[in-house]
């Protein structure tokens, strides 16, 4: 064995030293800058009804998912920190009843036409990250809805497929029993677009129970719920028959608190909730708000709320005739229920986790670890507010939700007051 010269040993030692130092430095650098999270919502009050959370909690996001929920998450662990103290953090709101099949067909009204709206202008600014189109399209024109709205929106857009093949082209087309095809409707849902189509819509039909029956038949074939917009019958058909005999547990009755010719109301002349309405809710029929332009009336909803007949789902029925009226947006609508003494956590439940379950999308509507980072951050404003119903009557209220920040898949898509932005003086001038 040859003895290494002193200089050779020194050289080896030097190299070992160098490797050790470099490695150590790298390790310590990576430790100091190890930021497992991209974004930290710091200091907010988390309401996540699915997970039973209603308390101060930090929320950390990595990529497009929720990475950690804990009372204290170190600010050093996130690349970006947004101070949400004094604000409520909730799952992104799911609006289960909208009309977003906007388009330019001059002969149509909701399907590919002017009464529907483009979702992104309404959603994020009110904390909504998912909308469900309520039957604007049927199996014949769903691909157009997908191409024009669903594939182009930043909002997640799901849909109930109308039992009428051409969807909501016009009131007359919607009477066409020959175009109510359960088999094609079910095929479209199960075979072609199972990730987008969450149920079946029955609406605007003047005849007997045929349309509801066809929709339920399609629902049985596809294994999805049916949402019914019931009414426009002269004389009105029996609401009790619909709720107790025709709809299945898990099916949805929408426009619950409307008051209109052609549909029996949920309360009687003395403003008492009809007994069969409670029974229907007990047997699992779900009651949806579907505010719209004409379907939330104070003298229906206030007695109902007082008698503990609460909606299962709070939804907007957004379209051009509701966007500038009493409905306005989901934050405004949720605030109405808040001011009718529904606790905030119950309001959030009915606009996140419950609709997610109703449409069979349990991946949505909650903020458990690993869930997609669709998040809403609300300010609960105190003051003197007024809320309009569809008849132009007001209810005064003292609390109002305002969407301060909205994340969709971890990305900031609405930032009302620039919470996520640095001061302009901190940015280097570019010229």
């Amino acid at each position: 064995m040859r003895k290494k010269s002193g200089s050779a040993w020194r050289s080896i030692l030097k190299r070992v030293f160098l490797v050790l130092v470099t490695g150590g430095l790298l390790l310590s650098v990576s430790a100091a800058y190890a930021q497992p999270y991209d974004l930290l919502l710091d200091g907010g009050h988390l309401i996540d009804p699915k997970n039973g959370i209603d308390e101060p909690m930090d929320v950390a996001i990595a990529g497009d998912s929720i990475a950690e929920i804990a009372p204290q998450i170190s600010p050093g662990s996130a690349g970006r920190i947004i101070d949400v103290s004094g604000l409520y953090v909730t799952p992104g709101i799911i609006d289960m009843h909208t009309h977003v099949f906007h388009g330019t067909d001059p002969d149509a009204y909701i399907a590919d036409a002017h009464v529907s709206v483009a979702p992104d202008g309404f959603t994020f600014r009110s904390g909504v990250t998912t909308v469900v189109d309520a039957g604007s399209a049927g199996w014949k024109n769903f691909r157009t809805l997908k191409a024009q709205t669903i594939d182009r929106a930043d909002t997640r857009v799901l849909a109930f497929l109308n039992i009428v093949g051409v969807g909501m082209v016009g009131r007359y087309e919607e009477q066409n029993v020959a175009d109510m095809n359960p088999e094609m409707t079910a095929l479209m849902i199960n075979e072609l677009f199972p990730d987008i189509l969450v149920g079946i819509k029955s609406a605007h039909y003047w005849g007997d129970f045929t349309q509801v029956e066809r929709a339920v038949e399609a629902g049985n074939r596809a294994g999805v719920p049916v949402m019914v917009d019931f009414g426009e019958h002269d004389p009105p058909l029996s609401l009790e028959t619909l709720l107790m005999d025709k709809l299945r547990p898990g099916d949805i009755f929408t426009h619950t608190y409307s008051y209109t010719r052609g549909r029996e109301a949920v309360v009687d002349e003395e403003f008492n909730v009809k007994p069969y309405v409670f029974k229907a809710q007990e047997r699992g029929v779900l009651f949806d708000v579907g505010h719209g332009g004409g379907s939330l009336i104070w003298h229906q909803v206030i007695p109902s709320m007082e008698q503990q007949f609460w909606p299962d789902v709070i939804s907007s029925d957004l379209h051009t005739a509701s966007m500038n009226g009493g409905m306005k947006n989901m934050a405004n609508l949720m605030s109405k229920f808040l001011n009718m003494e529904m606790p905030l956590a119950e309001v959030i439940l009915r606009s996140t986790w419950t609709p997610a379950r109703v449409i069979g999308r349990e991946d949505l509507g909650h903020l458990g670890r690993g869930a997609g980072a669709d998040v809403a951050v609300f300010r609960l404003k105190e003051g003197d507010f007024g809320f309009l119903d569809a008849r132009g009557r007001t209810m005064r209220g003292s609390r109002k939700l305002e969407a301060e920040l909205t994340l969709r898949d971890g990305r900031v898509v609405w930032d009302l007051n620039g919470r996520a932005a640095p001061s302009w003086e901190e940015e280097p001038r570019r010229y």
């Binding site: 906007h102 388009g103 330019t104 001059p106 590919d112 002017h114 709206v117 483009a118 992104d120 202008g121 309404f122 994020f124 600014r125 191409a147 024009q148 182009r152 930043d154 104070w298 003298h299 206030i302 051009t320 966007m323 500038n324 306005k328 003197d384 507010f385 007024g386 809320f387 309009l388 119903d389 132009g392 009557r393 007001t394 209810m395 005064r396 898509v413 609405w414 930032d415 009302l416 007051n417 620039g418 919470r419 932005a421 640095p422 001061s423 302009w424 901190e426 940015e427 001038r429 570019r430 010229y431």
Partner: protein, 432 residues
């Protein structure tokens, strides 16, 4: 009620109507000679009472009531009796101003993904954004050219509740593509002139935008068309292929440069390397060229806007450049831009002037943007909120502020089209 058995009335409005009818009946019976006087004494439909009226055209900024009959402003005066109107709206603590005019929006909305702004999904439906932020008039910034203007009119202008006016694009197909690669031979002055003559009340001027070339021809042709029809030209302050100095030299007093406070790479901003307003920008301002904000998705930077205003260059008008890519970003809506400038130190009266009368004058529509008696009743009632707010520029940087304007009520031709808190509504039945 004294005459409870006389007539069954079920709302306050009905009661007042019956009351007014009875009064008129008495007047007609007792004073038959005053036929014409009783016509003048007819009640107002709507009275905004107790607000602070700001009407920059008339130099008005004070406590004043505003009465509306039908579609028109009937009277602006102190202490108009509540009994003279069918509906009385309590505007105390609020500001009453002319409906806002957004001189830069993209509203030729449609569903054709290949058509960006002209009938495509880049543009937005005006009614979904206007009334909720106090806007009653939007001016489309050249989505349509002479070839597709009739389609724009049929599909958007005629179908919207918002008043929609337009700058006509110099190119025949308008903003069909975001690429800026336009056919020079698609400029046809005769067709443009004919289209303006066919719609003189809708087309307020010419527009050059999204042009990336190095030819002066579009700007010069647009100037020619604008000059020939007595209308202004709206053009981007910073075109990449054309020097700012040449642009400002060519255009005339009354022409409008938009995106004025943008700082975009490869384009000349209004400030020089030392943060000073370029001399030719100052000269342009002095000769009467108008500077519009137009933040859009990427054209408003505090690094330009704040030094500019410190050197005296305040914006003349507050165009939004509303479209799909600005609606959810820092721009948000026109009131957010007004609020930004309010927090940068502009007075409320000045931001309202820029949002109303100055904008009306810029588009040569002196029938709009003020509250003269007899004018169409486009009115906004604004709440001036105090709190902790933030405003953001296109670079994602922020200023903090303590004020924010909010549209409490918007009237379009005398009709309530937005009512944030039910100011104009009756209480719910069980609270009457």
């Amino acid at each position: 009620m004294a005459h409870a058995g006389f007539m069954q009335a079920d709302t306050d409005a009905d009661r007042i109507r019956w009351h007014v009818l009875r009064v008129m009946l008495v007047v007609l019976i007792l004073v038959p000679g005053l036929g014409s006087a009783s016509a003048i004494a007819q009640p107002y439909d709507l009275l905004l009472k107790g607000g602070q009226v700001i009407d920059p055209k008339n130099g008005m900024n004070g406590p004043m009531d505003l009465a509306i009959t039908g579609e028109r402003i009937a009277r602006v005066a102190t202490d108009i009796p509540a009994s003279e109107a069918v509906t009385v709206i309590d505007a105390s603590g609020l500001y009453v101003a002319p409906g806002l005019i957004d001189p830069h929006a993209h509203v030729f909305f449609g569903s054709d993904p290949g058509k960006s702004f002209a009938g495509g999904t880049g543009s937005v439906a005006p009614d979904a954004f206007s009334f909720r932020s106090g806007v009653t008039t939007v001016v489309d910034a050249g989505d349509a050219g002479w070839r597709n203007f009739p389609e724009f009119k049929r599909r958007v202008i005629d179908e919207s509740e918002t008043r929609v006016l337009a700058f006509l694009n110099i190119f025949g197909d308008g903003l069909t593509s975001g690429s800026g690669r336009y056919q020079m031979d698609d400029i046809n002055i005769d067709k443009i002139r004919a289209m303006i003559q066919a719609h003189p009340d809708l087309i307020v001027g010419m527009r050059v935008g999204h042009f990336l070339g190095e030819s002066w021809r579009p700007v010069e042709s647009a100037l020619q068309a604008a000059r020939g029809t007595g209308r202004p030209l709206l053009l981007e302050c910073h075109l990449p292929g054309l020097p700012l100095s040449g642009l400002l030299e060519r255009i005339r007093p009354g022409d409008i440069v938009t995106h004025a406070f943008g700082e975009v790479s490869d384009r000349t901003p209004i400030l020089d390397e030392n943060g000073q307003l370029r001399p030719y920008v100052r000269e342009a301002r002095e000769k009467g060229i108008l500077f519009d904000v137009g933040p859009g998705g990427g054209s408003f930077h505090f690094s330009q806007a704040i030094p500019a205003l410190r050197q005296g260059l305040w914006p003349d008008t507050f165009g939004t450049d509303l479209h799909r890519y600005s609606m959810n970003g820092p721009m948000k809506n026109m009131l957010n831009i007004l609020s930004t400038y309010l927090n940068l130190g502009m007075s409320l009266e000045d931001v309202i002037a820029g949002g109303t009368w100055k904008a009306a004058r810029a588009i040569q529509r002196s029938d709009l943007g003020h509250l003269d008696e007899g004018t169409v009743a486009d009115v906004v009632v604004l709440a001036r909120r105090t709190g902790e707010y933030g405003y953001v520029d296109s670079g994602g940087t922020r200023i903090s502020g303590d004020e924010k304007l909010e549209a409490a009520l918007t009237l379009r031709a005398g009709r309530v089209v937005w009512d944030q808190n039910g100011l104009a509504a009756t209480p719910r039945e069980d609270e009457e």
